[in-house]
Symmetry: C3
Subunit: 352 residues, 3 copies
Amino acid sequence: MGTKTNPGNYFEDFALGQIIQHATPRTIRGGDISLYTALYGSRFALGSSDTFARSVGLPSAPIDDLLAFHVVFGKTVPDVSLNAIANLGYANGRFHQPVYTGDTLTTSSEVIGLKENSNGKTGVVYVRSTGTNQRDETVLEYIRWVMVRKRDEASPPPTPQVPELPDAVSLDQLIVPAELTLVGYDDVAAGSPHRWDDYEAGEKIDHVDGMTVEEAEHMMATRLYQNTAKVHFNQHTEEHGRFGRRLIYGGHIISLARALSFNGLANACRIVAVNGGRHVAPTFAGDTIYAWSEVLECNELPGRKDVGALRIRTLAVKNSSCESFPDKGNDGNYEAGIVLDFDYTVLMPRRG
Amino acid sequence: MGTKTNPGNYFEDFALGQIIQHATPRTIRGGDISLYTALYGSRFALGSSDTFARSVGLPSAPIDDLLAFHVVFGKTVPDVSLNAIANLGYANGRFHQPVYTGDTLTTSSEVIGLKENSNGKTGVVYVRSTGTNQRDETVLEYIRWVMVRKRDEASPPPTPQVPELPDAVSLDQLIVPAELTLVGYDDVAAGSPHRWDDYEAGEKIDHVDGMTVEEAEHMMATRLYQNTAKVHFNQHTEEHGRFGRRLIYGGHIISLARALSFNGLANACRIVAVNGGRHVAPTFAGDTIYAWSEVLECNELPGRKDVGALRIRTLAVKNSSCESFPDKGNDGNYEAGIVLDFDYTVLMPRRG
Amino acid sequence: MGTKTNPGNYFEDFALGQIIQHATPRTIRGGDISLYTALYGSRFALGSSDTFARSVGLPSAPIDDLLAFHVVFGKTVPDVSLNAIANLGYANGRFHQPVYTGDTLTTSSEVIGLKENSNGKTGVVYVRSTGTNQRDETVLEYIRWVMVRKRDEASPPPTPQVPELPDAVSLDQLIVPAELTLVGYDDVAAGSPHRWDDYEAGEKIDHVDGMTVEEAEHMMATRLYQNTAKVHFNQHTEEHGRFGRRLIYGGHIISLARALSFNGLANACRIVAVNGGRHVAPTFAGDTIYAWSEVLECNELPGRKDVGALRIRTLAVKNSSCESFPDKGNDGNYEAGIVLDFDYTVLMPRRG
């Protein structure tokens, strides 16, 4: 007999090189696309339309790259972050195969780093998580590090091992889906005349629109991803918690910011890398999310005239418009209201 | 470089005869049907059941006619009404091909009328919008006119041109889907014994039930339609706006009223025309919507014994039951609480 | 002419042996699975993954057993319980064929018992409701009894007839889906190492997690099931009603409790019987639902080494954790906070 409920892993439970096969394979349905649209209002043509997808060489509209990310990520929560105190960062996220309805996603993680904190109560766990489809093809992978409680403060610390993390996914590591060709890309259908050639490093774009989040929305989203982190769902305990309220899943804000970024980046048709990301401050139901982006790099892709890469940094801000481009100060502190600083790389059609 | 965000069109940007191809082709998924059901509770058998649809000659259950309308309409917002002050009316709406899952919808609009207002600050734009599927078949079309801001008050007015608008779509303009035959129509499955023959002009029906609307619901609906009108989503700005709150998309109320009308009009299986419509007053989250209908006309359809047309006027009322059939008074003013006056034509099985 | 709206049936309208064919056949879509996941966060691998379903012999992931139940149940509301005062109980619920996307469900009910109450104002109606797919295969059946208003207190009472109801579905009445084989059941994918062999009668499991319910969520769920009971949707009338608020559909709580029970019963892969169920107290938006379960019986199934049956009793509790296993006292009264006492039987893989 004994307890049958999942207590989650504590810091001592992780070992360097350990591979965790996460539970709950998840088949993607057309309904996931509809719900994602209803939750964020995404308008990128590639994910909205089978006909558009076919015009650029794909068999049908792939699901939103971030929906794939959230589903893959959600599976890691019961094993990796149920006893986490903080989600510290992302690095080296790469998108491989597009995900289509009917695909079944699973996730496994490898422990690639461990370091106990000096307080002896917690430690940092680094994992490389990989999402795989039913043909064992990688759909995406990323590194995440989280601060996890120790079960027992007296247990001895592991030999510290901190992986080297790149500032950004290097150009030669970016994956353009094999069939994708943007030669016949339809700007009118996509909703913007602005192509890769029109952007330049340092350019800042205020995405203008704001979106207020409701409790029902972020909880439905987070459950859709089968993410079980307790802080998002339980007002009965959270009202006595640190914030007095349910915390919104950070990925919900990433998706909102990406959807808002359509207004200015409509042709950023595919995310190919997550270089890094930081949830700067918590968000709650009732907050209105705005976003702005800075173009960090404009890169050609080897052998391609139809498509280029833009490295983008998108900041999400709550309850304040982004006209003034609120940012991190020289002292390293973020201006009030900033909730997300997300560094990623997208594909965009070139003039050819 | 320059701004990459969409500022929307101002009154000066429209020219008579101009054709606008709207962005964001949208493939319809089974999930759209599920979400539409979850949002409105629609029970019309034709849209609920593939077996029922096949029993009346269709290949499978078409999506709700109003879901098709909202998707087609949503695409026009970024080009037509982003700078609109008011949505003034609809006319001459006709439904052509039913829409099925897997269909991809696009919308184009033709500017068919322009008239600057005497204040010199705004003008009225008339557009005929046409929704098309992936086979270039028209799925629906309608005329809409909106009041739009001028960018510059000093710009010269266009030659005024106001299209002639019919009071109602004429009988010979109604389209019965080619395959549809109601000979074997199953009243029991459909939920009502009342057929076309049982209705008469002047008849009033209180649809009895009321439905309270939540913020999460109308926002999810409006995003599902990829409708980007800002007033529906942003509490941070709307709290300082005219109403102090987010405004519910008028189409959400049309869909609620239609779903409520099942109780009394269960066999109104297909909308074939929108003759006109007026959003009489705004609605907000927390409002409870009731509806009643008046039968305006009962028309035979040429060459058909299986199906007839009913011209219906459905009024939606907030926070008050419709037992007393609240209406427009002789002075042309609507009774308090009325939020929608919608004039449309439906198909209904005949006794044969 | 005459009224066209559905007044529902009153006690006098039911006759022993009467068969009611309920309206609104409903085709199940992939979107129903997505929405169900978004509403409850269900993680049972069988319903989540086509690949997992195929590994146990099914053609694809069936929809959640309770989603099938709610859809079948919803159809009975307009005929059976529109004028009901109370939903008194369930018995003898049996699940036959799994339901897949593309299946179309219909429901019929037989009146199997009638008993007027001594007050002469109400009576109890017993119905056996049967859900059927498009091949006329039974998908599930159950007995329900409800207290219904009389239309006219003066109408004579029927001869009382109360059906004999089993305490539980007997073992030989349980149906294991024909193709299902748990020989190759994957514990890792399913998320728990605990199989049928590891449970014992009397064992109690606190499912730990809590889930707060929002108005938008329970209303979307209840509409998804096309359940039209007025008390769930209309704040305008309910604010003057017994509770001052919209009441949450009892089935929503059953589904939440089942989803929460994953944490401790992850391998309870299929519900085969509903032995009984009682909605002990009402729930409202803002309530946080917790659950715990007691194993009532562990039964082998004739001729099967791969799968066994567990009879489970799951209690849902609002706004209080279940650490102390709140229960019915010896006096027959339930401890405060308990909202559901649900007795059902599940299949679980054996060690073989």
